[in-house]
């Protein structure tokens, strides 16, 4: 699955896009990301899958298009 990283989260991942396989759902994905990039634990972001913001957890497959989206404060 492809994961697009938005805003200043890219400072943590070091790349605007990731490819990860073998993750079953968004809860596991969050754990996986927070393990791989521990600084993500201290950042607020939502996960969107196939252009839909996820509350709770949903299943992922190899074609899922995932986005990590932080809130922006600037104006």
């Amino acid at each position: 699955m492809t994961i697009r990283i938005f805003g200043p989260l890219e400072d943590i991942t070091g790349t605007p896009a990731l490819n990860i396989e073998g993750i079953g759902d968004t809860l596991q994905l969050r754990h996986h990301l927070e393990e791989s990039y521990p600084d993500l634990q201290n950042r607020k972001f939502v996960i969107a899958v196939d252009n839909r913001v996820v509350n709770g957890s949903i299943e992922l497959n190899e074609n899922s298009e995932v986005a990590l989206l932080p809130p922006f404060s600037g104006g």
Partner: protein, 376 residues
């Protein structure tokens, strides 16, 4: 029928299909409040005034500074030091001399917010900090007023229209359906730390004006239950759907007195203080009520705490083990008080504001350095 004032100025939009004279009249009768006259507020104010919005309110407590000028295009070098609302009022009055402008040269807060937004049909959020963004959202939800959200960071922006009353009497989603609780200080860098491309708030603020005009005139599809993101560097737009849930009500005040009592500054900017509890206050709290004490250090960290009944849940496992914690007063601690602050934030987000959640200042040191009662 009321007449359109300055008809010639609006001729090019009145001839648009679906807009017509009735659309122009709706704009003339509309009352729009723009909160923040900065990077987003400048273009929003300009286009709303130019489009013929009859009453425009502007709220901003700041004065123009040189670092504003690359993106706040209503102001020039000669305006440095002047109140933004003063310069902005003069500029938009010349765009529509028949319109009325209400200028508020104050910082909006939970005490004056409800009075300020009262009487407006729609509010445009052009602010630059989370405390005001969450406060405006909650105020608009309380009062049933739609809120046009815009925000920027570096090369990216977000736009959405919150809290629109639907035909069935319900309301569309709002900020807390997207991000239920505010980030704490340092979790999200602001423009002064992260920077922003000058033209970006121009684009996003103009989109906010566009959504506002569409809501007033009733044309097109609104960014309702949808968040539009824009990436100026790679020319990418993306539309993300989100859903309104009644359960987000646990995160915001549900009546006016509760709203006035909510300290938004504390919940965001200096948000750490909201959770932090001193050793003395912790002991007082423990005497007053049943407190769950939770150690969020890794299982191999020393010294261990023997004096108190407590559970140990390493921070990394907290989210998956939240269900093991009772929804009642809890105090997290760690080695120095940093991880426990994160733990408090996670728990507070999960349990909502009805449950008291604390992080023990100075962590385990509190237990070690506090004098012990020695029994002979």
């Amino acid at each position: 029928m009321e007449k359109i004032k300055g008809f010639e100025r609006y001729q090019r939009q009145v001839i648009l299909k679906g807009f017509g004279e009735s659309g122009q009249l709706k704009l003339q009768q509309a009352k729009v409040l723009v909160v923040g006259a900065g990077g987003l507020g400048c273009p929003a104010l300009q286009y709303l005034a130019a489009a013929g919005v009859g009453t425009i309110g502007i709220v901003d407590g700041d004065e123009v500074s040189a670092s504003n000028l690359h993106r706040q295009v209503l102001y020039g070098v000669k305006d440095i030091g002047k109140p933004k609302v003063e310069v902005a009022t003069a500029a938009i009055q010349s765009l529509n001399p028949d319109g009325k402008v209400n200028a508020h040269h104050i910082r909006i807060n939970q005490h004056n917010c409800l009075d300020i937004i009262n009487g407006y049909d729609i509010v445009v959020d052009c602010t630059d900090n989370f405390a005001t963004r969450y406060m405006l959202n909650d105020a608009c939800v309380l009062k049933g007023i739609p809120l046009v959200h815009g925000s920027v960071s570096r090369f990216e922006g977000q736009v959405s229209v919150f809290n629109v009353k639907l035909k069935n009497g319900k309301y569309s989603g709002h900020y807390r359906d997207l991000f239920p609780t505010p980030p704490m200080a340092g979790e999200v860098p602001d423009c002064s730390e992260a920077g922003v491309l000058g033209v970006l708030p121009g684009i996003i603020g103009t989109m906010q004006a566009s959504e506002t005009i569409k809501w007033i005139t009733g044309i097109g599809d609104l960014l309702m239950d949808k968040l539009m993101t824009y990436d100026a560097l790679h020319n990418r737009f993306m539309e993300l759907r989100y859903e309104h849930s009644e359960s987000t009500a646990k995160f915001h005040p549900v009546h006016e007195t509760e709203f006035m009592d909510t300290d938004y500054e504390q919940a965001c900017g200096t948000g750490n203080d909201g959770f932090m509890i001193s050793g003395v206050d912790f002991e007082t709290l423990k005497r007053r009520e049943v407190v769950q004490v939770i150690d969020v250090r890794e299982s191999n960290e020393v010294p261990t705490l023997d004096e108190y009944n407590h559970v140990r849940i390493p921070l990394g496992k907290l989210k998956s083990l939240l269900f093991t914690i009772k929804p009642s007063t809890m105090v997290f601690f760690c080695q120095s008080g940093i991880r426990s602050l994160t733990a408090a934030r996670i728990a507070s987000e999960h349990f909502g504001k009805k449950v008291k959640v604390f992080s023990l200042k100075d962590g385990i040191n509190h237990f070690i350095s506090s004098p012990k009662t020695i029994e002979f």
